[in-house]
Amino acid sequence: MTHHHHHHAASSAQRIDRVAWAKALILLGMGIYLAYLIASGNLTNYINLRFAWLAYVGTAIFVLLATVSLYVCLKPGAGHQHYQISWDMLVIVAFPLMLAILIPSRSLGIEAINGGISLSPVGVESPAAFRRSPLDRNILDWLREFNRGAPASFNGQQVDVTGFVYREPLFAEDGFMVARFTMSCCVADAYPIGMPVSSEAAADFGAGDWVRVRGELQAGKFGAEFMPVIIASTLDAVDEPAQPYLYP
């Protein structure tokens, strides 16, 4: 009886030890992951940089909690060992880390478009956008601008925008949309918007390729809509921008 009891206590202490180590290492891993996102710039793939400070706060707390957990592991008796943590918690909480390690970090691109793309802007109209000169306007600025006048009133205005190529089966051969995802807070609210483009060189670019489009606006029919279309003079292949999303 006594022997049995001893044996049980020993194995349970071992279990507690393993759980304590796993807890400490996962917390440390989380802290390292957030710090890595900040350092590598990959954070822009996930959240609006207006909220980047959240990642700093998160890193600090993870490292603090990991330090305390490691301290308790290394100095038995330093703290009270409360183990409400079970293996399923460890596995589930480690899941984001496994995903982050196994799958290369990417921004949302063309394959994330689910059910079409919007021709209208998102968010409130920010006065700052209207003060931008036409060549500085991004796709979101232009769509907001289009809300303010008749399509033909933009004829002849110069455009210089960057986005990825998006096509639908019904588009004409020389037509595509130059598209971006907008993001207010994090990818949870990412939303694709785009401007129609017409160009002889359209066929040179595959769906999802990043492209810089320069040209001028001309009102025309695009699908069912009558709206300003970019008549492109040059299309240049470019790298994905450091900030892949537009922030409303």
């Binding site: 996102l37 079970s86 984001p96 994330a112 990412a190």
Partner: protein, 341 residues
């Protein structure tokens, strides 16, 4: 003090296996669906899921950490006696107090659950805790500020306050009147009782702090699993349900409210930033539906529903989702009718 409760541990084992099965099914399902329906290659589909999931997690985790820290500090430094001394006697008063508790503990919906759970273990009355749980994610200085910045002092800002208080007080009072704490709350898994005297009397501040940080770490795992399962579910829904098919339903006094509430539930965006998100819908959706989106979302979404299951028994979780849904819906429709859209 420790008693063995085989029934409870069996049911928690069931939840564990369910959780793991759900997680595995989610990943496989998401991957397979994307691969089959759009001809995309599996790696790309998985990468979209990973980006959506990690985005929600990275945004929400710091808030959960802050909530866990608060919970740990309460455990170490607040005594049950102190809480009980300040409690209003009747249920309505307690519920009203609960809605204002967020001003003392500024937490969003990821952080509120661990704090509420800790306060329950310290003897907080059920009606007050439920009102706190529903109201605090909005009724705190940070979210007041973000709503004010996004919408200014108008119908949306004040509508959001009035409806949140109304719903939180009503649901708190109703649940507090019809259920007892010990029937509503799950078996106490918190290692609180037997250590209470060690930490509340005589322990040094350093010991208490160390204890608080350990509790905070445990809390992150305990609540984090629900946050992670919820984020995975939300990311999956977003990958499967085309946002535009929801947007098409923006008009209509009743339908628009129903859809904005469903959207709030699915998106599971943190209450500290949901105002900025709601701005995206101002042009297409009715005012009532925007207000309902903002008042319902912080109370109940995929993440918080899963986290509720870590605190309450299943029946109470059901009412905690249903009652706010119906009441916010009613409020949204009334606003739409009053404004004539």
């Amino acid at each position: 003090m420790h008693t063995i409760k085989p029934a409870a541990s069996q049911s928690s084992n069931l939840i564990k296996s369910l959780a793991l099965a759900l997680l595995a099914a989610l990943i496989l399902g998401a991957t397979a669906y994307q691969a089959l329906s759009s001809g995309n290659d599996i790696a790309l589909a998985l990468s979209v899921f990973a980006t959506r999931f990690l985005g929600i997690f990275v945004e929400a985790a710091p808030f959960l950490l802050l909530g866990s820290l608060t919970s740990g500090l309460i455990e170490s430094f607040v005594r049950s006696d102190d809480i009980l001394r300040w409690m209003p006697r009747n249920k309505l008063g307690a519920a009203l107090g609960g809605t204002l508790l967020g001003l003392v503990f500024p937490v969003c919906e990821c952080g509120v659950v661990p704090v509420a759970r800790r306060l329950f273990s310290k003897g907080l009355p059920l009606s007050m805790g439920v009102a706190f749980l529903l109201a605090a994610p909005f009724m705190n200085p940070i979210v007041f500020a973000s709503t004010w910045i996004a919408f200014g002092p108008g119908t949306v800002f004040f509508g959001r306050i009035v409806i949140t208080v109304l719903v939180a007080v009503t649901v708190g009072t109703v649940i507090g009147s019809f259920a007892k704490s010990k029937d509503a709350l799950k078996e106490e898994p918190l290692a609180s009782h037997d250590h209470e005297h060690d930490h509340s009397h005589g322990a040094t501040t350093r010991d208490k702090l160390l204890h608080a940080l350990q509790i905070a770490g445990d809390e992150f795992f305990e609540m984090g699993r629900f946050l992670i399962l919820g984020s995975a579910l939300a990311a999956l829904m977003q990958t499967l349900v085309p946002q535009q098919s929801l947007l098409a339903l923006g008009t209509g006094a009743v339908l628009s409210v129903v859809f904005m509430q469903i959207l709030a539930f699915i998106l599971s965006v943190c209450s500290t930033v949901d105002s900025f998100l709601a701005l995206a819908f101002v042009n297409t959706f009715t005012t009532g539906s925007i207000i309902s989106f903002l008042s319902f979302g912080p109370m109940v979404d995929i993440k918080s529903t899963l986290m509720f299951t870590g605190v309450f028994r299943r029946k109470i979780v059901f009412y905690l989702v249903l009652l706010p849904f119906v009441m916010n819906l009613l409020a949204g429709v009334v606003i739409n009718v009053a404004l004539g859209n």
